[in-house]
């Protein structure tokens, strides 16, 4: 059972109180973008074995979206953080580095 702490209400919510909302930190390409950019934005997703960044929503709770950093293989959660940010906070990146030296995910490392 996956448990994530919601950074907005502080609840250690178990999976059934949450809703997975896909990959984190996507950059939107809309009107004015090229077909390639739009296709990449819509369909191309990371599917890593290991460190991953996701968006979740505390659906049966405070209702807020938030971000989570975790490992897809061990289910270890490195941390959850605000949705109002474009990249993971340094302390979470440090935690990942301690466990997976040299990790990278899209533009983050």
């Amino acid at each position: 059972m996956l448990t994530l702490q919601c950074p907005y209400c502080g609840v250690h919510a178990e999976e059934t109180e949450l809703h997975a909302e896909g990959e984190a930190h996507l950059k939107r390409f809309g009107p004015g973008s090229s077909d390639d950019e739009f296709e990449t934005y819509l369909f191309m997703r990371e599917n890593p074995k290991g460190v991953h960044f996701e968006r979740w929503r505390h659906a049966s709770g405070c209702g807020k979206f938030f971000h989570a950093a975790r490992s897809t293989t061990t289910l270890e959660v490195f941390g959850t953080y605000s949705a109002q940010t474009l990249e993971p906070p340094q302390d979470i990146k440090d935690k990942i580095s301690a466990k997976y030296p040299g990790w990278s995910w899209r533009d983050f490392s």
């Binding site: 209400c9 502080g10 609840v11 178990e14 059934t16 109180e17 049966s60 709770g61 209702g63 807020k64």
Partner: protein
């Protein structure tokens, strides 16, 4: 005026704990900046209560105030008083980015009482309801089996639970099954 009735007209069930629908209750949703002075003053003026900390409920002279999210409160008051609460909040918050709405008729409220009231909820919500973890004045938005609900613990040991009116019968049925005699777990 039409004669307002609550979803289940105060139905009740007695198992190892008592589950009852409380009848008509006033409920007002307030959205705004909870850390702002404006909301604090407006809530105080409308209910007599302070703005609660996260996942807590505060008591006022004319309403209780529950923390729903970082920008949302639920005010529970007399059914007849809900429109006055909305008017008071709206007046105090004019010019602020805030919204108060009377949601009384969109909701149903249940009370769960008895020594093992905790167990009735613990079986159907993914929440730690041990005595240490969930204390009087604590408030939690979660789910009851398949549907959204929120509940809090009163000083007298009873729980009150809010859900959408459209699922009142479902919630009542789930709570009844959970409270059935012979279903005691004896853990909490």
């Amino acid at each position: 005026m039409s004669n307002a009735v609550s979803a289940l007209n105060a139905a009740s069930f007695e198992g190892f704990a008592k589950v009852s629908e409380t009848g008509l209750r006033g409920m007002v949703t307030l959205r705004g900046d909870l850390s702002g002075k404006g909301v604090k003053q407006a809530v105080k003026a409308a209910t007599g209560a302070d703005v609660p900390d996260a996942r807590r409920v505060t008591r006022g002279t004319s309403g209780d105030v529950a923390w729903m999210s970082p920008d949302e409160l639920l005010i529970i008051c007399d059914y007849q008083a809900a429109n006055d609460v909305v008017a008071a909040l709206t007046g105090k918050l004019s010019g602020e980015h805030a919204l108060a709405v009377n949601v009384s008729d969109a909701r149903a409220v249940f009370r769960i009482e008895g020594n093992a009231a905790r167990e009735v909820l613990a079986k159907v919500a993914p929440v730690d309801l041990s005595a240490d973890a969930f204390q009087a004045g604590d408030f939690r938005r979660s789910r009851i089996a398949q549907v959204a609900a929120a509940f809090w613990l009163n000083d007298d040991g009873s729980f009150e639970l809010v859900c959408f009116r459209s699922v009142a019968q479902y919630v009542f049925d789930v709570l009844k099954v959970s409270a059935e005699n012979g279903g005691e777990v004896g853990f909490l």
